[in-house]
């Protein structure tokens, strides 16, 4: 579904991604982890071309992302993304947040969009707040709305950029529960996260990155039981002793 | 395109330089006077005494509501009257364009400087004032050693920008036929019927000066941001 081939990226003189390659098959859940500055957030933002790359190629469901001629908005409408800081649109109600892209990008009718929005809000447990604005909700609630907003577009795969890092601890689980459900339903997911419990539970594979390089890319069971590289071992020991 | 002749500008340079000198004098006096008076106004607006706060507030709001041209007209009329009243003279006393211009711009711009300074003072963390008091400073000492130095350091770019605005505002002395830079250029231009050449020259000079100054201010500002980020 997602193919990343030999991509490299620079910010000025600083190389952020060094020759990274990996693949996410349909229905797979891949977790990307690593110390801060490892480039994991940048990697995931390259998949829907929010960040440009200088070399290599990326394709989603057979369509190249890096080819200059493709219709990026159309491609992005099929790839769902959830951000660390939720990024709900504050001037719209949460129902409107879910509906607007359906209407303006997918050209659905307003009734259809609203219906879908309500269904999704129910699914994430927030239908009671449908008329509220994002500012009136807690962080965990906002992130669940953000997931619903991405799902409203009927995406073929979902990208998560540290979805729980900005949440207070007591709200992390409500968001992870939604993500686990999604995984169990067979959604293709690529997820940057520190939540190793989540990774252990649903991830098929784990990618460990450090300083712009993919150090390990293995079956998640094997990764957690016996990480091959020293850096991965160090990283895991720091995280898991929490 | 009529026949342009910029040599007339060259010939008039000494006279224009005099005009520019006057412009710079007014700017300098209004800058210093305006900042001093503006600081006093800012302190007054932040004071605990209600009557002082209201008085200063009313003054600042009044000055900021009226056009500078109207303020110039007012002050050029009032100064002779007030001086006459002070000196007990029956007739308005002629004070002269220069001094009146100094007074007018100081009084007017002080209101604008006041708002910049007030914001600067309020941006200094409350804890600073408390720390000063805890050490035993009086209000004046606190202001002098703790608050104002920090406030001014942060405000210098904004103050300088206001000075650049002041520099441009002095061109309005034209309305009382003063011989500032624009006034001088205008007089020669009308005498020689060379409006195009002179006004173009004036625009270019103003542009070069203001653009350079604002670049300097911006460089200073980024140096300030960098050093405060490390603090």
């Amino acid at each position: 579904m997602i193919k990343i081939e030999n991509i490299s990226k620079h910010y000025g003189p600083f190389q952020v991604l060094k020759n990274c390659s990996t693949e996410v098959k349909k229905g797979e859940v891949v977790v990307v982890c690593g110390p801060s500055g490892s480039g994991k957030s940048t990697l995931i933002k390259c998949v829907n071309a929010l960040e440009p790359i200088q070399s290599g190629s990326i394709s989603v469901d057979g369509t190249s992302v890096t080819d200059g001629k493709i219709n990026l908005p159309r491609l992005r409408s099929r790839v769902g993304m959830v951000f660390q800081h939720f990024e709900l649109f504050p001037h719209m109600s949460i129902t409107e947040n879910l509906a607007i892209a359906q209407v303006k990008v997918l050209k659905r009718s307003r009734e259809e969009a609203m219906c879908k929005a309500q269904g999704l809000l129910k699914r994430v447990g927030l239908q009671a707040h449908a008329h509220k604005h994002p500012g009136q909700l807690s962080g965990g609630q906002q992130q669940r709305v953000a997931i619903a907003r991405a799902l409203a577009m009927d995406p073929i795969c979902m990208l998560f950029d540290e979805p729980t890092s900005a949440l207070d601890p007591e709200m992390v689980n409500e968001v992870l529960d939604v993500m686990v459900e999604l995984a169990e339903e067979g959604m293709t997911m690529m997820c940057v996260t520190h939540e190793m419990g989540f990774a252990r539970k649903v991830a098929n594979r784990v990618i460990f990155m450090d300083q712009g390089e993919i150090i390990e890319d293995r079956n998640s069971q094997e990764f957690f039981d016996s990480p091959e590289s020293d850096r991965a071992q160090q990283f895991l020991s720091k995280i898991l002793t929490h | 395109m009529q026949n342009l002749d910029f040599s007339v500008v060259l010939n008039a340079l000494p006279y224009l330089a005099q005009g520019m000198l006057f412009t710079l004098q007014v700017t300098a006096v209004a800058m210093i006077g305006g900042i001093i008076f503006g600081t006093l106004l800012a302190l007054a607006r932040l004071s605990q005494l209600v009557w002082l706060r209201s008085l200063a507030g009313a003054y600042v709001n009044l000055m900021r509501s009226i056009p500078l041209i109207l303020a110039i007209f007012w002050i050029f009329f009032l100064v002779p009257e007030i001086v006459a009243w002070l000196l007990g003279s029956p007739e308005p006393v002629q004070v002269g364009t220069t001094k009146t211009a100094f007074i007018a711009f100081t009084i007017f711009e002080a209101a604008y400087f006041c708002e910049v300074i007030r914001a600067g003072i309020q941006s200094v963390a409350k804890g600073q004032s408390a720390a000063g008091q805890a050490v035993g400073f009086t209000y004046v000492q606190n202001m002098r050693y703790v608050i104002l130095p920090q406030a001014f350091r942060a405000m210098i770019p904004v103050l300088l920008t206001q000075v650049i605005i002041l520099f441009q505002d002095t061109s309005l002395l034209y309305v009382i036929s003063a011989t500032d830079f624009l006034g001088a250029a205008s007089k020669v231009a009308q005498r020689d019927s060379r409006l195009v050449e002179f006004y173009t020259f004036v625009a270019i000079v103003y542009f070069v000066i203001c653009f350079t100054l604002s670049k300097v201010v911006r460089r200073y500002q980024s140096r300030l941001n960098r050093s405060s980020a490390n603090a």
Partner: protein, 244 residues
Amino acid sequence: MSFNFDVYLQQSPEPGMTYIGLLGSGLAWTVALALSAWIIALVMGTLVGVARTLPYPWLVRLGNGYVELFRNIPLLVQLFLFYFVLPELLPTDLGDWIKSFGAPWGPFFTAMIVLGLFTSGRISEQVRAGINSLAKGQRAAALAMGMTLTQAYRYVLLPMAGRRIIPPLTSEFMTIFKNSSVALTIGVIELTAQAQQMNEFTFRTYEAFGAATLIYVLVALTVNRLMAMIERASYIPGTATQER
């Protein structure tokens, strides 16, 4: 220092007009000038401000150049450039056509355009700052959902930025209102000009300038009240408590 209200009702040299009528006509010219220039300023300012936030470096530089041009030359000098210099620099036919506009419309339209463009530079600064003050994530989120850049600006960035810049826009409107007085130098008989004329005819300076001052202050108060109402009407629930 005696204040005499009767002077307002005196007949002025203008046939059939009292002084208060003259002041009223001055106010009308001021309002007309300020409002029409304001529209130009808003349109141009928004266009240039948005252009300066787009991912096209040449466009950003063009926008920056536009702002620098209008910001580093005094308004009065710009007015003279437009009124005296520009018609001479254009091809003769165009220049003559412009010069054929007699008072009061020639000076009025010139002042309107100059004031509008001058203020548009300042407004573009507010717009640019407003858009950039939004977290970068908002743009990313809109694009990630498949919106085009235009849609992202239209539905997400501009609505939020618009609300944020209401306070600075208020002060910009007051500034344009005050700056309109500059037009008196090319013959627009706006409020300050009328006050000065009244002073010259009646020698009642306090009454003449006092009336103009009062009117400007009242306008300032009204505009502030109006903008506070607009701010309240556009309030987004939850904004006050939202931390980022």
